[in-house]
């Protein structure tokens, strides 16, 4: 069986759920091998987790370069692994950084690149991907025709399914070019870890917009009652009411949860582009003419400051 390389997305050894999804997809295409890059040693716990999801091998690039310089070193490490292992496909998480690593890898290996896949099927042994286009208005199916396909996959594309394997840990040495060491990471401030689920991976998202008037407390309270991630519209982020990492939309994150609750969000096209493939959409807005109601399965014309706390209270009451 041919190898499929999966780049492990992790923060200090803590593996993202999206990586487990990639391993699940990789098993349809061949034998998954995980690629773990970090200045620190690979934790045993991480090997176990990757193995549980079917990794047959874990290539370990333990090198400070991957943290001291931006993007390029990871692409070079992968390139050298592609040359030595000749995989059928390389799978990378569709994060902004993942896509940039994939971009450089594709150029370096003269290979086709497909990004933001929301589905990966196997047709005649090759990967055929599904993508959302024009803000979710179209569905596109594509495949790579040259080189080693490099595919980035969006979170929530599949459920991670365990299939235990005992991975062989293989340390690899990468030679980095001068160009890879040219964009230095001068300072680095890790994101505060939130108790809430990661926005792009959450099965429920509650977002607030201009209608919050800057008060996100009702949005956050409902999110916590539902075990949801908190999102925000561009208007709310531009007003400084929520950090940019919360932004859902064309220039923020694209989410596709089971349930999306839009509170005080009018539904501008930029916002819709980031959420309209959600399974169910609920909107709460005071303006009965808000375009968000055109795509909501349930629309509530009312004040989020009274509706959200009442719903939160009811959920909490039922828990008791």
């Amino acid at each position: 069986m041919p190898e499929v390389l999966v780049l492990v997305d992790h923060l200090d050894g803590v593996v993202r759920r999206s990586t487990l999804e990639l391993l699940t997809i990789a098993r349809r295409l061949g034998e998954p091998s995980a690629v773990y890059a970090s200045p620190d040693p690979l934790p045993d716990e991480t090997v176990r987790l990757l193995g549980e999801h079917g990794a047959r091998a874990v290539y370990v690039v333990q090198d400070e370069t991957v943290e001291q310089f931006s993007v390029a070193p990871l692409a070079e490490a992968l390139e050298q692994l592609v040359r030595s292992t000749t995989p059928t496909v390389v799978l990378i998480g569709s994060t902004p950084e993942g896509k940039e690593v994939a971009a450089r890898l594709a150029v370096r290996t003269d290979s086709g690149l497909l990004t933001d896949a929301v589905g990966v099927d196997v047709v005649d042994g090759a990967a055929v991907t599904t993508h959302s286009a024009f803000g979710g208005g179209y569905e596109v199916r594509a495949r790579v025709t040259r080189g080693t396909p490099v595919i980035t996959v969006k979170p929530n594309t599949v459920e991670p399914v365990a299939e235990p394997a005992h991975p062989e840990v293989r340390p690899v040495t990468t030679t980095f070019s001068d160009a890879a060491r040219s964009a230095r990471v001068v300072a680095r401030q890790p994101r505060e870890r939130s108790a809430r689920p990661e926005l792009t991976e959450a099965s429920v998202v509650v977002s607030g917009g201009r209608g919050t008037g800057g008060d996100f407390a009702p949005v956050e309270a409902l999110a916590d009652a539902l075990g949801a991630a908190v999102g925000a519209s561009k208007a709310a982020v531009d007003s400084g009411w929520a950090p940019h990492s919360f932004q859902v939309g064309q220039t923020g994150k694209t989410v596709s949860p089971q349930l999306y609750v839009a509170a005080g969000i009018s539904g501008a096209i930029q916002h819709r582009a980031g959420m309209q493939t959600s399974r169910a959409i609920v909107a709460v807005n005071r303006d009965p003419d808000a375009p968000i109601f055109e795509l909501a399965d349930l629309g509530v014309v009312g004040d989020l400051h009274t509706v959200l706390p009442a719903v939160t209270e009811e959920i909490r009451r039922r828990e008791r």
């Binding site: 923060l11 931006s70 993007v71 086709g112 199916r141 495949r143 025709t145 719903v311």
Partner: protein, 266 residues
């Protein structure tokens, strides 16, 4: 100092966007300078404005696309760019990101008189294909430091510093020019052209160049040479509006709780 901003003419997202029978983006519809590329032009212009001798900083905008793409170049010239380079060639139709980056890398060099420009600036992604990979590809192809997804930029004494809000961390990236920079929509609002600037832009030069002018092999680009193929495009059935309830006497709350319960979210 040579600054090259790579810009794209894209279909208007507020109008009807569609695909051609060849499954490429239909570019015959109304288009405009990609909103996200306005931020790139803005940063290039700020660099010029802040330079000790602004006249020594030449901001060229480079775009690849059919005849109408010149509209995007004109807009950038109205904002204040000095000159435009329009790569137009029938062989380019259907090019993917790898082919596009190949052509833009050559065009950026051409715009800077055959040398690597001091700074290549891009938006974070296009608003049509939206892959967000061309800046990284340009850095790879030009062999330059990649300073991308910047929300704050500072260029001083031949050094560039940028804040990059990554997935795992907020980083400051530093590099020595020349470099490739991409900026996000957080990097600073793009300026509106004044009437005077709109008039002045009419006199600014736009060079029209072909693949032959750029010395790019035409068999390496376009749909036939692309590294990937689109087999199928299908409009997704539009979402139909569901139930709308007015929140009178708690009716909205009851409807919402009912929805969450029947769909097993609570």
């Amino acid at each position: 100092m040579q600054v090259v901003a790579c810009i794209k003419h894209v279909p208007d997202a507020t109008a009807d966007r569609r695909f051609t029978p060849e499954r490429t983006v239909d570019r015959s519809v109304d288009g405009l300078l990609s909103e996200l590329d306005e931020y790139a032009v803005e940063q290039a212009l700020r660099l010029k404005d802040r330079a000790p001798a602004p006249d020594d900083v030449v901001v060229a905008v480079v775009s690849m696309g059919p005849a109408r793409a010149v509209e995007a170049i004109r807009k950038a010239l109205q904002m204040g760019a000095d000159r435009g380079v329009h790569v137009i060639d029938d062989a380019l139709a259907g090019s993917d990101a790898l082919a596009t980056s190949l052509v833009l890398a050559a065009a950026a060099r051409w715009a800077a008189g055959g040398e690597v420009p001091d700074l290549v600036v891009c938006g974070m992604a296009s608003t049509d294909a939206g892959m967000g990979v061309v800046p990284a590809m340009l850095a790879e192809r030009l062999g330059l430091p990649q300073v991308t997804l910047a929300s704050l930029v500072e260029v001083r004494d031949g050094e560039i510093r940028a804040r990059r809000d990554g997935d795992h961390a907020r980083e400051v990236i530093g590099a020595t020019l020349p470099a490739v920079l991409s900026v996000t929509d957080q990097s600073g609002e793009a300026r509106y052209p004044s009437f005077k600037a709109i008039v002045a832009a009419k006199k600014k030069p736009v060079d029209v160049v072909s693949l032959a002018d750029l010395d790019v092999d035409a068999t390496l680009v376009g749909a036939a040479a692309s590294w990937s193929v689109v087999d199928d495009v299908a409009p997704r059935p539009p979402r139909s509006a569901g139930v709308v309830v007015r929140d009178v006497d708690g009716a909205g709350v009851d409807a919402l709780v009912g929805f969450l319960t029947s769909n097993r979210f609570i």
